[in-house]
């Protein structure tokens, strides 16, 4: 169809204007590929706990990076590269879970608060404000504490602190879309509130949500890693990047590779999502923060 081609062309044009976002896209595609095929890519999947066959080889601890172990080995003689590869899974899963949850809660809240407004809206947004008045990492820490430290609980903690950001984003967007005449036109036709919110307004706030989603994937991965770093996230021997950095920190500076490579992995993953998000921001032409 003509307009498809047309918009595809537009998107391609905008992307071309911003080659960095293509790099981002490439990185993310690569990460997803690595996450899916980790067992085939990693040379020592069991070192990452794959297939429940733990393998430690203390005799081979702290091998420097070499052909056999391009990222070296850790204190239990495990191949860091393999662990970093498997780490992709955890980080992506964390990001996806957190954001799905956050969007699932935040978007309806923002829609209702923005469109229905009034007392309900005020209450919802004040609750949102409360969550927003503490930096996410700090709040996630506070939420993570009552739970056992684990990757799953870290996800829950982060998700709990994340939805308000979507509520606020959607709220802001709804406030402006609400003023568009097509919304009123829909009301004039007799459409119900629910219909207006989800059929008229929601499609118009998808673009900023998409952009924020992409940018936030990176940020969620960072926060997840930070919790791991503080010992409140994934627990060893889970090859989660932040946890690995925290473990490796004890062996600095001599075994520099231990902390360095998981760090590089986080950096690249976050960078990828940021680049893509930034590109999407241009393509979809929305401003999100």
């Amino acid at each position: 169809m003509e307009n498809r081609k047309e918009s595809a062309r537009r998107i391609a044009y905008r992307f071309r204007q911003n080659p960095l976002s293509l790099v981002g896209l490439g990185i993310i595609v690569g990460l997803v590929f690595i996450a899916i095929f980790a067992p085939y890519i990693a040379r020592h999947p069991q070192d990452a706990g794959y297939m429940g066959e733990p393998a430690v080889d203390f005799a081979n601890r702290f091998a420097e990076p070499s052909l056999a172990h391009p990222f070296g080995t850790d204190q239990a003689g495990r191949d860091i590269l393999s662990r970093v590869i498997f780490g992709t899974r955890y980080s992506l899963a964390l990001g996806l879970f957190v954001l799905t949850f956050a969007i699932g809660i935040g978007v309806p809240v923002g829609l209702v608060a923005g469109y229905v407004g009034g007392f309900t809206g005020q209450v919802l947004m004040r609750i949102t404000d409360i969550f927003l008045s503490v930096p996410p990492l700090v709040l996630a820490l506070a939420v993570a504490v009552p739970l056992q430290p684990s990757l799953r609980n870290a996800m829950i903690a982060i998700a709990v602190v994340w939805w308000p950001w979507y509520a606020r984003l959607v709220y802001g967007e709804v406030i402006s879309v609400r003023e568009e005449q097509f919304v009123e036109a829909s009301r004039g036709i007799g459409a119900s509130r629910i219909r207006i919110m989800f059929r008229e307004i929601l499609p118009n706030v998808l673009a900023p949500i998409t952009v924020k989603f992409s940018l936030d994937m990176g940020y969620a991965i960072l926060i997840g890693a930070s919790l791991g770093f503080l010992g409140l996230g994934a627990q060893p021997p889970t090859p989660e990047w932040g946890t690995m950095i925290a473990e490796g920190r004890a062996y600095l500076p001599a075994q520099w590779w231990y902390s360095t490579f998981p760090g590089v992995a986080i950096f690249i993953a976050v960078l990828g999502f940021n680049l893509l998000g930034d590109g999407l921001r241009d393509v979809l032409d929305v401003e999100v923060d």
């Binding site: 960095l20 990492l137 820490l141 506070a142 990176g218 770093f229 600095l252 500076p253």
Partner: protein, 339 residues
């Protein structure tokens, strides 16, 4: 609407948020598993000792009662006893907060000092080499895990090059404590040796902290600068005969700075979050590290205290920015909420 009433309204708006926050945090802390009294007294404490502490702390009261007791205490500067330091949390915070405040403030100043010019340079040279370089830098800044950046910087500057100290706040005798901020205290005491040492110590952590906001600020400044630069008034002023440079650095900068300010407020809050990581790595004896210790030790009063203070800093930072925003942009004062 007058500026004053705007300021007052903004200030009052922070109060319900603070109350809500205190409820949220307090509830969170109370659902912590584990008996804080037992934790406080250590593994070998007797049951009687534990029970008497429970009574003292009111732990067996309903949570609502506990909350009101807590808030009543808070009004008198009593935030309960920290279970790990055995002191009043308020006293602990007074002790530790200045270090964190100093760190994040210096970090933010660095971020602004580098980020704003970077953004302007990029904005004025859109799509040219300067722009691309600064954008790339910005991406690196926001993508770098703070704790990892901290480790790398430490490896390079402290361990490898030996240029800067890796940890701590000061390497010589500390100046008499007045504000609790080393830089300030050493200046007050005219102790320049201490000042130099304090500067050397704060350099790495503050810079690490500054990375992300620096990138954010540069990005925001750039985009708002570009946006403003394309506004009609720029052309209008230009065609009225005002030189372009003055327009850029007076008119455009002031308008675009409003947007930057919002980011600064947001990032100021995020800085406290990052401080939780950075203080650990750099052994910075601040509130954030105290907070992490408290969290790891289930020290409920300390957790509530730290989180509340973080919240207050965030709320105040937003308030200050809102007020500045109103100062920079008169439209805000008329536009009501700004939301």
């Amino acid at each position: 609407m007058g500026f004053k009433s705007y300021v007052i309204r903004r200030t009052l708006a922070g109060i319900p948020v603070f109350i809500g926050l205190s409820i949220l945090i307090f509830t969170l802390a109370r659902v912590l598993p584990g008996d804080p009294a037992r934790l406080a007294l250590g593994p070998r404490a007797t049951d009687e000792a534990v029970q008497s502490l429970r009574d003292e702390m009111g732990l067996d009261d309903p949570v609502v009662v506990q909350y009101f007791d807590y808030m009543a205490g808070l009004l008198q500067g009593d935030m309960g006893i920290s279970l790990i330091t055995n002191r009043n949390v308020a006293a602990d915070l007074v002790y530790f907060f200045p270090a964190t405040f100093e760190l994040i403030t210096v970090g933010m100043l660095i971020a602004i000092a580098i980020g704003v010019p970077l953004g302007i340079i990029a904005g004025r040279n859109k799509d040219e080499a300067e722009d691309n370089a600064s954008r790339l830098f910005a991406f690196f800044g926001v993508s770098m895990p703070a704790f990892w950046a901290a480790i790398l910087l430490q490896l390079v500057f402290a361990f490898h090059l030996g240029l800067l100290p890796a940890t701590g706040r000061i390497g010589v005798e500390a100046p008499p404590r007045l504000t609790g901020m080393m830089l300030v205290d050493s200046l007050i005491a005219m102790d320049f040796r201490a000042f130099r040492s304090a500067v050397a110590h704060i350099a790495l952590p503050a810079f690490t902290l500054a990375l992300a906001p620096m990138a954010d600020i540069a990005r925001m400044t750039r985009s708002s600068f570009i946006e403003e630069l394309n506004k009609d008034y720029v052309h209008a002023l230009h065609s009225s005969g005002i030189p372009g440079k003055l327009i850029a650095y007076k008119y455009v900068l002031k308008s675009s700075f409003a947007a930057t300010l919002t980011i600064i407020a947001l990032d100021y809050g995020f800085l406290i979050g990052s401080a939780f990581l950075i203080e650990i790595v750099f052994a910075w004896p601040g509130m954030a590290r105290y907070g992490v210790d408290a969290i790891l030790a289930n020290d409920i009063n300390a957790i509530v205290g730290v989180t509340l203070v973080v919240g207050i800093v965030f709320i105040v930072a937003n308030l200050v920015v809102d007020i500045l925003y109103g100062y920079f942009d008169p439209r805000v004062r008329y536009g009501g909420d700004g939301e």
